[in-house]
Symmetry: C2
Subunit: 349 residues, 2 copies
């Protein structure tokens, strides 16, 4: 890679794009720099987001799960709408098809998975583009949603004194990817490529397989996001890794954000994978990414509100917003603090 | 390629996607099957479209024109909004960056071209996604626009008795691509790989270079599209090749569409390229694609309306809508008719 590009990094390039983008039309309530754009297009603000999934980067067709891949293509975009407190409505699909490696049956399964997710999240596929690809299956999905009546929850509203919360558990998706690469599936026999230790209980195995399922077929937190509109001061979905995402939130809000290591809810499958593969479970939880949970800040305990509207989404307080320059840091149990390392950067690998 | 997929073809796959897509949300006024979706999202209908441009399929970085590529990424989507009579407003960019082959300087030029087009067409880049790519530069752009007050012009409104029109001239882009592949640029020296015949005048050379420019940096017909809202009965942009696009319009309108070969406005550069390269100019005009002109039908002559609102867009009557089953055919000067062959199919090459 061009050293200048590598030095700039993925997020540096996004900053460049953001600096270049000028308003040439009215109605951008929130542009580049949040989970979704907020647009004034009529009497209710519209949310708009786009994500790409590329073969060999985000997924392997060799995993043999094209229906899950279709689901995930929709789900990762739904998660961006959820992180604004919104409701997904309309999707546009870009599909690049390579000359070799993707059969019609594979594509049909992929499309079935897209439709599964469209039905599950109440959105309609309204258009898009198909083309050939010299570079594996290329998936691009744009998703439009409706902003909540209380106003879209931005990344930029956190204030000193707020507490930091996360839904669900972290590290499951990253652990699932590591296990998937060694042949573990959500079901089927234990893979030969992954020696099965004596300590592994049936519960451990179920947790490991649940982690693989979390990677293949994530469930974005739509109801929780909607319940948090009007209550959360800032919100972001956990896609790059909570350490990165906490950094994005801190920077957009211009606050100091502190996560407490002891409070991070680590996915049970991440603990099993860490032990199986000689990794640190907390590192998977902090830097793994693709959990599609919601990281948010609030002045008041959101527990009661969430318990009623989204009982499926456990919520954990994991830190606080402090006065000070924009930064995200980790408080270790021994009282030491360290800057949160960024999660995955596509240009640095 | 999987024989089943090749047999189905790109447009067969789009039909499969369309058959699968169910409405899971309210407000789809027009879904898959037009240049852009028409969505009820507030007090004014919204237009939404998405197109992808992939390195090695739609463009080569070796052409050394990244700023044009950025322009084109926006322009091809603007053309879809123009074909509905609409006004482009907001764009989302997906950008996949390969580890090798795309320098920061190349990406900066690409982004500058996107911003050039955003300024020219009055739209704002409001978000998107960046990621690594194992397979060349991947560009995906979703564009939202405003429908005209008179209502979006669909592909489905042509009726027997209507006449068929096209803006501008056809075949320039296809001719430009052939010349570009032999080293001809919009400016600079004549390429050594392309023997320069004695008959080639300065005017011919200018036409050939204009064809290359038309391929690299197309100008969608926004003002013409807007002027045709309320006047055209059906409209589509010429992206796949007018023979394919006429077929799409005929099928969506369920009418017989006849193009007259003698009336097709062939780009001067296509005539030069045809002579230079031993091709048929009419074939380039009919099947070449990527002209981003507007093909439309109307009951009354649209000339006066266009002359006032979009004087830069010449318009030519090229055929008529007849009673009969949905089909597009070509009337030769000798009175013979033939079914219009489809243009480029990404799955058949």
């Amino acid at each position: 890679m061009d050293p200048a590009l590598r030095a700039l990094g993925e997020f540096g390039l996004i900053d460049r794009i953001r600096q270049r983008a000028r308003a040439h039309s009215d109605g951008t309530l929130r542009g580049i720099g949040d989970d979704a754009a907020v647009l004034a297009t009529g009497d209710a603000p519209l949310l708009a987001t786009l994500d790409m999934l590329l073969e060999g980067v985000h997924f392997q067709l060799a995993w043999g799960r094209p229906r899950d891949l279709g689901w995930k293509t929709v789900a990762v975009n739904v998660s961006d709408i959820a992180a604004m407190g919104g409701t997904p409505r309309f999707a546009l699909l870009g599909l690049g098809v390579p000359a070799e490696g993707a059969s019609l049956a594979t594509l049909e399964a992929l499309l079935a998975g897209i439709e599964d997710a469209a039905a599950a999240f109440g959105l309609t596929l309204v258009g898009g583009d198909t083309c050939g690809s010299r570079s594996g299956v290329v998936l691009s999905l744009a998703l439009l949603g409706q902003a909540p009546a209380a106003g879209a929850v931005l990344r930029s509203g956190a204030r000193p004194g707020d507490r930091v919360y996360v839904t669900g558990a972290l590290g499951g998706s990253a652990a699932g990817l590591l296990l998937l690469e060694r042949g573990l599936a959500p079901d089927g026999p234990w893979p030969a490529a992954l020696p099965r230790p004596e300590w592994l209980t049936a519960e451990d195995e179920a947790a490991a397989r649940a982690a693989v399922a979390a990677h293949l077929r994530p469930t974005p937190r739509v109801a929780a996001g909607q319940a948090l509109a009007g209550a959360a001061s800032a919100m972001i979905d956990v896609s790059d890794g909570v350490s990165s995402d906490a950094g994005h939130l801190a920077r957009e809000s211009d606050v100091a954000l502190e996560l407490e290591a002891a409070r991070i809810p680590v996915h049970a499958g991440a603990r099993v994978a860490a032990r199986l593969l000689g990794r640190e479970a907390l590192d998977l939880a902090l830097r793994g990414g693709e959990d599609y949970e919601l990281l948010f800040t609030a002045g008041a305990d959101p527990g009661p509100r969430l318990a009623g509207a989204a009982p499926e989404a456990p919520v954990t307080r994991i830190g606080q917003i402090l006065p000070g320059p924009a930064a995200a840091r980790l408080l270790r149990p021994d009282g030491a603090t360290e800057a949160l390392q960024a999660g995955f950067d596509h240009f640095r690998g």
